[in-house]
Structures are given as structure tokens and as C-alpha cells.
């Protein structure tokens, strides 16, 4: 792996990214889909992109998923 891959990935942006507000508005819906094993990212690609790119929203996703799955 290239030494600068992390830098490149950090700088890469995706126009589908919905941003924090919209992602958090449907976080519960998204998490329920994930918990049920459904294709949440396919249904909400802009949310999936955002959760992968935004550390704080990604943390909220992980925390909520753990809360509903008991993980």
C-alpha cells in the first residue's frame, strides 16, 4: 500500500455525501436496516458515503448500532 494512501483517501470527496444533518436525520432508519442485515448503503448511498468520511457521524452510527444490537 502506498504510504500516502491515507492522505489521498482523506482528501478524496464524494459528491453523494449528504453531510451531517441529513445523515443524522435518518440514522435510526439506517441503523435498523444494517441491524436487520439489509442493504442500507444501497438504499441510502449518500448516507453511507458520509458515515465513512465523517468521523463523528461514523462514531454515532457505531454507537447506535451497538446500542440496538447489544454489541
Amino acid at each position: 500500500m502506498n504510504e500516502l494512501d491515507r492522505l489521498e483517501r482523506f482528501l478524496r470527496t464524494d459528491p453523494r455525501d449528504v453531510g451531517c444533518d441529513e445523515a443524522m436525520a435518518v440514522l435510526h432508519v439506517y441503523v435498523d436496516l444494517v441491524a436487520a442485515g439489509q442493504d442500507a448503503a444501497g438504499r441510502y448511498p449518500g448516507v453511507a458515503v458520509h458515515l465513512a468520511a465523517c468521523g463523528p457521524c461514523g462514531e454515532d452510527f457505531t454507537g447506535l448500532l451497538a446500542a440496538v444490537t447489544g454489541g
Binding site: T13, G19, E22, H28, V31
Partner: protein
């Protein structure tokens, strides 16, 4: 992310009409009990609050490695988060649309409260930063092996040039705080009196601007591979 708001849409989000048949049995039971009077409602509120406290405590512990908040203060954050989430849930009960299980909808409030409170509490005892704004730390931020710092010097110098010369003062301030000084995004939002999304948008635009310059000046190929 296109100005003024991030790109994409939530067109797939249904605004379901909430009827009893749309809800799973547990969600329906929660709504019925919380909408009841007297002891039944009080019992439901106690049960929900106990769950929120348990989740908040678990969540602050899960995040303990990434926050300077510790010990009793961390537990206090959890209890405050559970309390405030409970108030918000009861106030917004009518907003529940049945798009998820009730408990998932409710737990979201406490998770977001934990995030917000940890951002605020960060500034009570922030980690000592003796060398704020030191660009020399940038390679470490991206996990670049010290043995290869020399190879990455060119592209990192170009990143610095773009930050210094092409970002706006606000973008530069936010970029330095988040990327170089590693201040948590939620904590910076508190310090600047902005919402998380506003900070994210600044960083998003800065990332795009820096990457565009790196591509234009031959440091990155368009698909994202380093060229030199």
C-alpha cells in the same frame, strides 16, 4: 457535497403515516404505554430512562480512549445525556413516524447527546498542546512511516502551500485545528459556536480544494494515485 449543502438526497426516506399496523409489537407497546396516563406511563418512563442510562454509560466508555473526559466526569456526562435525551424523546414523541423501531429512534437521542456533551466537556480539561500548528506532525497524522518522510516531503509541502495560500482564513483555521492539532470536530464546533455540519462542510471544501491543487500540480493522478 455541493454548495450550500452536501450533495445527494434522502429521497428514499419515507414519511410513513403512523398506524398501529405499521409498527412492530414492541414499538406499538412503547407508544401506547408512554401515551397512557398514571402509573403505566410512569413505569414506561422509568424503564426507558433506565435503558438510556445504560446505553449512555456504555457509549461513554466505548469512546473513553478518544476523549480527555474521564472518571466520574464521564459517568456524569452519561447521566446528563440520558436525562436530556429522555426530555427530548418525550417532547418529540409525536414526531416518531415508525420509520424504524421505536427504541432505535429513541436511542439515537442519547447517542447524539453523548456526542454533544463530550464535545462541550472537552474544553474543561483539554489535552496540553505545546506545539499547536506544527506542520511537522502532519506525516504522523496520516501514518506515514518516519523512514519515508523525505519521500513524502514534496506532496506535504504542496498541501501546506495550498492551505497557506488558497484556503480562506476560516478554512485554514478549521483545517489546522482538526487535521494538524487533532481537536475533535464536535469540540471545535463548540469552540466556534457552529454546528457539526458547518465544520464538516468547511473541511469538505478544504479537502476538495487541496486535492484539486495536488492533481493540477502533478502530485496526484485524477483517480487518486500518487504520481511523484
Amino acid at each position: 457535497m455541493s454548495a450550500p449543502a452536501p450533495g445527494g438526497s434522502l429521497s428514499g426516506v419515507e414519511r410513513a403515516r403512523l398506524t398501529a399496523k405499521d409498527l412492530d409489537a414492541e414499538s406499538g407497546s412503547w407508544l401506547r404505554r408512554l401515551g397512557a396516563g398514571g402509573g403505566e406511563r410512569q413505569a414506561a418512563e422509568r424503564e426507558l430512562h433506565a435503558r438510556l442510562v445504560r446505553i449512555a454509560l456504555s457509549e461513554v466508555r466505548r469512546r473513553s480512549a478518544s476523549t480527555p473526559v474521564a472518571g466520574q466526569e464521564l459517568d456524569d456526562v452519561a447521566h446528563q445525556a440520558a436525562h436530556d435525551a429522555m426530555l427530548a424523546i418525550l417532547a418529540k414523541l409525536g414526531d416518531f413516524r415508525g420509520e424504524s423501531r421505536f427504541t432505535t429512534w429513541a436511542y439515537r437521542f442519547v447517542i447524539l447527546e453523548v456526542s454533544a456533551k463530550l464535545g462541550r466537556h472537552y474544553w474543561r480539561n483539554p489535552p496540553a498542546v505545546l506545539d499547536a500548528g506544527q506542520w511537522e506532525r502532519l506525516p504522523d497524522r496520516f501514518g506515514i512511516d518516519p523512514a519515508r518522510h523525505a519521500e513524502s516531503a514534496g506532496i506535504l509541502a504542496e498541501v501546506r502551500r495550498v492551505v497557506d495560500e488558497e484556503l480562506t482564513a476560516h478554512q485554514r483555521r478549521v483545517f489546522m485545528a482538526i487535521v494538524v492539532d487533532e481537536i475533535p470536530l464536535d469540540a471545535l464546533a463548540v469552540r466556534l459556536g457552529l454546528q457539526r455540519n458547518a465544520i464538516y462542510k468547511v473541511i469538505f471544501d478544504a479537502r476538495r480544494k487541496i486535492r484539486r491543487a495536488l492533481v493540477a500540480n502533478g502530485y496526484l493522478d485524477e483517480p487518486g494515485r500518487e504520481r511523484r
